[in-house]
Symmetry: C2
């Protein structure tokens, strides 16, 4: 059946050995108190609560789903108790601002905890993930008064945040929203409209729910420049912080979905609900992007976490499953057949998952590191460079991690054979739960467009150059590390390809804006592939010198999985470059009506 | 919501224009009566019954599923009535032997009808698909007496066939089966054992169920050389053809699955059930392969049909969905936003699906054509060559069509954005229903091994040479067709790559048998890609000369989708070749215990 143990050994390797987090943290005042002992304690306690409390609720949560009854939403059995236990232990405020009761842990660490959450129970994970994003948005944009009113309770998990953007006719294109905000005389607003696909819009986990809602003022300009952000609590909040009247922000129904069935996806009807503006009028989308960017990395980690638990579960199955003989003759002649891992193609599937999971973990930590530097570093130039890399990497993290997450859950499911399709084995749930991550929080197509358009073409490749420099510096710094040279040569070639392709798209886009969207998805895939080649090279640079003296096999595994990646995954880069270079014409040529049927 | 119209225009194009089926049929006595009028009538009536009877039961069948109650299985509401209607119209015997009441239609035509079945209702389609395979097996291997006893009733759908192979510990490796067959004095056998994953093992559609069961005789040799095949009816059959006693072949439970929920997947307990041997003792696996090869093509078509209905449904959605503006400025300024097909990346997804569906339809027909020639052609050399191509192509058809089927359903789902994840829209069901096709009927990994090992390496590439000749002849024959030259140059290069890679694997496999399984999946993908390039070239060769004078846009669409395929899909061939050439070492290097967790 399903199996999950938090991959602490690999997490520590990434954090301590590959990125030497402690060195970085010791240089930044905000993170100086994050000691190795504290980090170890957090990882170990985090592993326990995820393995022991959330993971056992994953299958039952899928079977039971959320229930909707007359406006009330009940989460699956056990969710509420597990949530309260976690909230009481302070996990809801792990990355929160210390000033308002948060734990103040760096992102490099919280990404690892988030991975555990998604791996253990993706449906459950979404409730704290949305709450963390909402608190981040409030911390960045709300008034001090509002922060004091909300953040401590949200870090405690007594109140939980949501993100209310989408409307039935308005998903990707938020400029089309119709939800209205009419000013009251007391400075508050009356919010009226319908929002759909609201994760955790209603549930039974917390005393109150804090909705962050995009809406339009009466005199707002058309389109996305006329959107404001409002805080709309489920229960109004009295001056002493106690709960007052029920605000007319009601859940009209919940969706029946392919997966993440324990996550309540709500239709929310705001019927003149009282709300308070966050940030400035008509600048709401920019505020919301603070939350969205957070959620985008988080959703990327959903893909990673599900890939990890799918791998562990598949290997648990494989360890017991015997079927046919090894190609060269029986490996276990005492058994009726050999273990299925004697078969090269089963290994190919398993290694594929490993190659992406382990690179993905390093990549998520790398983005977390840039986020921390962009926020906490004392050198403004370092902050600026890190912020640029975060902007560049966010769509890659969301999209590449989730696309590979689906691939990994599918490969893991395939290893089971027929049992992979049967619900009780659990493998098929991981596929269903992973699929949403490519769709919500900005579809992966939108991420690719964000990368190609806003993050590459519009700054003429400036951010890509920063990333290129980062890789080239690493290559130079490892000029004396003989064991890593074969990888570095291939990595340099892959970077060359990426740079050439980048320049090509920038040039073509100047003449035809359609070239951006035409290149975007294949470009993102190429970008992700090169990034993972970089992650594998960084891991090998650390692991290869230690492999000979290590009896656990951990470091030699790293080298061998890296070999697999470089020999059997990286060759796709050339194909992706050719696909990008094919340009827009082959996409735009077919008349629109010829796409539709009779 | 979901939409399906059988793609008759494209089906006729493939049948009549690309492969000129009528010319072929007129040369073979068994198919001479298959006139163009008859074919048209079958396609049109087939479309009607699928669109009007089966398609409306697809979503409700998924929601309701099959019910198991004390040994009885109830199919979803409406299945029984639709089945009886179809059976009465003769659809269950469409490809059946005329001698025993079948309709005798060629495979080239029945593949198109099968596509409609799977597109309309994949769960439903499996009942007739299994029955057709079972009748084919009986027609090839049963005694005349047994054929007379069974085939007319099975062609009428009064009795339905199953295929009972898998056991809990024995899936891919059938040599491990434990089901016993003990001889009775009257020439029958008592069958005892448990079979799992039996599609249609029990249901309420027909009066009787005819199980084809693999079992071992008491003195059978170990492994796959000791397997015999038995016919085990649910109800014993009296001499006059009426039904007798209930045979102890009972359904113990049905599986709860990711998808195809309207298809009953049964645990079957044979408790001394009376059976009769088909074919010779210990040669049962070879007989069963007649059925399995049939089912493998059929399951490939499941991928194709689901890709087609997913495309049509997604375009039905896209036609109404407006979101954001075209990259170059508003295309529909009178609307609040442009139709989503103005976005290059949405087109990329849609064209990807088109490119695979249309090539897949041609490919299925091509394999059907080879099957017909191998069976009906008067020239023994032609029959032999066609049979070799069928052997070569069967694993490709099963695996490549179903892998692309999943890709296509996923791409189609992605076009919906959030709605794609919601059950009521239907897109997510196609993904779930397509996923099984990669797993059952021999996993796609097993298909790849069959291709690489048995169909390529073991005959030193002889079959591949036949296929290569077929393509080279086509290229030569079109030397004067100017419009197709750019495609032919690329096709020739792709064939060169395939030939080189083939030779490389054959050489390496001589030294190390692990090279076969190490190459197999990427080799199959490369093979499929080259085959689809061939199909697109054949379609363009017909369509390009007709495009200028065609006002419907059908032929120009063919050319434009072909351009997309050649520019944006075929480049993957080089990457796949590199992956195959990477060899076994990177797969076999990691010690088995290092795959498993702590």
């Amino acid at each position: 059946m399903a199996k999950y143990k938090a991959p602490l050994r690999d997490m520590r390797f990434v954090l301590n050995e590959v990125f030497e987090a402690d060195k970085l943290w010791s240089t930044m005042p905000a993170t100086q108190e994050v000691t190795p002992d504290l980090v170890d304690a957090i990882l170990e306690e985090g592993a326990k609560v995820n393995e022991n409390e959330l993971f056992p609720l994953n299958r039952t949560g899928d079977e039971e789903g959320c229930q909707f009854n007359d406006g009330e939403v009940t989460t699956p059995k056990g969710f509420k108790e597990a949530f309260q236990l976690m909230a009481e232990s302070g996990w809801m405020g792990l990355g929160g601002n210390i000033e308002f009761g948060g734990q103040g842990m760096p992102k490099m660490l919280t990404v690892l905890f988030e991975e555990m959450l998604y791996a253990s129970n993706a449906s459950f994970a979404l409730y704290p993930a949305l709450n963390s994003g909402a608190t981040l948005c409030l911390d960045n944009h709300a008034s001090d008064e509002m922060k004091e009113q909300l953040l401590p309770a949200m870090y405690e998990g007594r109140w939980m945040g949501t993100m209310c953007l989408t409307e039935p006719h308005s998903g990707t294109d938020l400029g089309l929203i119709r939800t209205k905000a009419e000013p009251n005389t007391d400075g508050s607003y009356n919010i009226t409209g319908t929002k759909i696909f609201i994760t955790g819009g209603e549930h039974d986990l917390s005393e109150n729910i804090i909705h962050l809602v995009l809406a339009k003022l009466p005199d707002a300009p058309a389109g996305s420049r006329g959107i404001s952000l409002f805080m709309v609590p489920k229960f109004l909040i009295n001056e002493d912080g106690s709960l007052g009247e029920r605000n007319p922000a009601f859940c009209g129904s919940i969706e029946h979905k392919m997966g993440i069935k324990g996550s309540a996806t709500c239709v929310m009807n705001f019927d003149g609900a009282q709300g308070w503006m966050i940030g400035e009028p008509n600048k709401g989308l920019a505020c919301m992007f603070t939350m969205m960017n957070y959620e985008r990395l988080s959703i990327g980690i959903q893909g990673l976490g599900l890939g990890e638990v799918a791998y562990q579960s598949a290997m648990d199955f494989a360890q017991e499953r015997i079927q046919s003989r090894a190609p060269g003759g029986a490996k276990y002649p005492e058994k009726a057949a050999d273990n299925i891992l004697v078969h090269p193609d089963v290994r190919r599937m398993a290694l594929n998952v490993r190659a992406f999971n382990e690179a993905g973990r390093a990549f998520a930590s790398y983005v977390g590191m840039q986020l921390d530097m962009s926020k906490f570093h004392e050198d403004a130039d370092v902050r600026k460079k890190a912020a640029a890399l975060v902007a560049l990497m966010t769509p890659v993290a969301k999209s590449y991690l989730t696309d590979r997450g689906l691939d990994c859950t599918i490969s893991a499911q395939q290893i089971y054979g027929g049992q992979g399709y049967i619900r009780e084995w659990g493998a098929e749930q991981y596929v269903r739960d992973a699929r949403i991550a490519q769709i919500y929080e900005g579809t992966n197509g939108i991420q690719a467009l964000d990368l190609m358009g806003r993050k590459v073409v519009s700054n003429k490749g400036e951010y890509v150059k920063l990333f290129e420099q980062d890789i080239r510096s690493f290559i130079e710094a490892n000029a004396d590390n003989a064991q890593v040279q074969p990888y570095l040569a291939k990595l340099a070639a892959a970077v060359d390809t990426l740079v050439q392709v980048t320049e090509g798209v920038i040039e073509k886009a100047a003449a035809n804006p359609e070239e951006i969207g035409a290149a975007s998805q294949d470009y993102l895939d190429l970008f992700g592939l090169v990034t993972y080649a970089y992650m594998w090279a960084r891991m090998v640079a650390v692991a290869a010198p230690k492999a000979a003296e290590d009896t656990s096999g951990f470091y030699s595994s790293k080298v061998k999985v890296a070999n697999f990646f470089y020999a059997r995954v990286l060759p796709k880069a050339a194909a992706l470059a050719a696909q990008v270079n094919a340009g827009a014409e082959t996409l735009m040529d077919l008349e629109e009506e010829l796409f539709y049927g009779e």
